[in-house]
């Protein structure tokens, strides 16, 4: 499906919001589950956390491929520094969508837990069981997530500012059900 100039394709919009929901849920799940006492529920939550993370990774891979075939619309008019900041933030978000699930997967391998995606597809262990390495990888996973958390706030804040302060329809072109600005659709 090709989109009119100035808008994202329906597929790109769907992928963006699927990733957004999964990332926010998995951040919340990850932060809360580590404080639970060990129980069957905790083990199930860890399992789901890993499955969601791998799904984010796969979604990001599909998005990258889709984006090459269907380039994102050119940004609305804004100061050069804002454009650079937006590019850098988007690039970092893509990198993190790969790096965070990977760091979690390697961490899981280092703790001796092999991931079976959705309980169906066994993923290979990326490293052998190693408690010292596991500690380092946990710290890496947590740090990357902290960076993600900050960038998500920047990303959402910038989108809201563009939509409601600059009123330049930046947010609207990524909304799934919003009526597009007719001028943009015709163009």
């Amino acid at each position: 499906m090709s989109a009119p100039a100035g808008t994202y394709t329906r597929t790109a919009i769907a992928l963006h919001w699927i990733a957004a929901i999964l990332i926010v849920c998995n951040l919340a799940l990850g932060i809360s589950m580590i404080n639970f006492a060990l129980s069957p529920l905790k083990i199930r939550l860890y399992g789901w956390h890993k499955w969601i993370g791998i799904t984010v990774f796969l979604t990001a891979a599909v998005r990258i491929l889709w984006r090459f075939a269907h380039p994102a619309p050119s940004p609305v008019a804004m100061p050069a520094w804002q454009r650079s900041a937006a590019r850098a933030t988007h690039a970092a978000l893509y990198v993190l969508m790969f790096a965070i699930p990977l760091s979690g997967w390697v961490y899981s391998s280092a703790t001796g837990v092999s991931v079976i995606y959705l309980g169906l597809f066994p993923l290979p262990d990326l490293v052998g069981k190693d408690k010292v390495l596991a500690g380092v990888l946990w710290a890496a996973h947590a740090t990357l997530n902290f960076i993600l958390f900050v960038l998500v706030i920047v990303h959402v804040g910038a989108a809201l500012r563009h939509q409601y302060v600059e009123r330049d329809d930046t947010l609207r072109r990524m909304l799934p059900f919003a009526r597009r600005n007719p001028a943009q659709v015709i163009r």
């Binding site: 060990l38 069957p40 899981s108 001796g112 837990v113 079976i116 066994p122």
Partner: protein
């Protein structure tokens, strides 16, 4: 003469084995291992026991006269994390305060063709004893040692391992695979 050697492997183990009479073999503990794999939601967990003793008298020419006895110190469990190791020692799991040791004692050893053998025996854990059957493959490594590898499955609930809320097998599966690798130096 039989050897029941100490937990800490050392050169003395090999010397003892070398000086032992025909048939008695000291297991090279630091090259041998007792591992297990348990399935849980989202993945499979691998662990091992750090401390165990073995008394193996393996006679490939006369398997019926072979014998294997193992004693596993359950508190020496090596798992994913400190948290899971502490949990595994608790009463709901191994209850290592009350049942510190698991034992296996062979009853029958027989050849099943080529370098394959079957070791039948009794496995005792947490006050429960069950018959188990371990298929073992034997090979020689570059150093002339005999390497015996076997895998068998046990149902953890048969031994009351993982009681109460943990008895739910949809989170941690009932079946656990146990993998044993024993390295025996050449004798005589």
């Amino acid at each position: 003469m039989k050897i029941l050697h100490p937990f800490v492997p050392s050169l003395a183990v090999m010397l003892l084995a070398a000086s032992a009479g025909a048939g008695a073999q000291g297991v090279l503990i630091d090259r041998s291992e007792i591992r297990f794999v348990a399935k849980q939601t989202g993945g499979s967990v691998e662990g091992r026991f750090r401390k165990w003793k073995a008394n193996v008298d393996f006679r490939p020419q006369d398997p019926a006269k072979s014998k294997a006895v193992f004693e596993i110190e359950l508190a020496s469990i090596d798992l994913a994390s400190e948290e899971t190791e502490v949990e595994a020692r608790r009463p709901a799991w191994f209850d290592t305060a009350k049942f510190p040791v698991a034992t296996f004692e062979s009853t029958t050893v027989r050849g099943t063709g080529g370098d394959r053998y079957q070791i039948d025996g009794r496995l005792s854990m947490k006050g429960v004893t069950r018959d188990v059957s371990i298929p073992v493959a034997l090979r020689k490594d570059a150093g002339g040692n005999s390497v015996a590898e076997g895998e068998f499955k046990v149902k953890r609930l048969d031994f009351r391992i993982g009681e109460g809320m943990w008895a739910d097998t949809s989170t941690v599966a009932d079946e656990v695979a146990i993998r044993v690798r024993m390295v025996l130096p050449p004798v005589q």
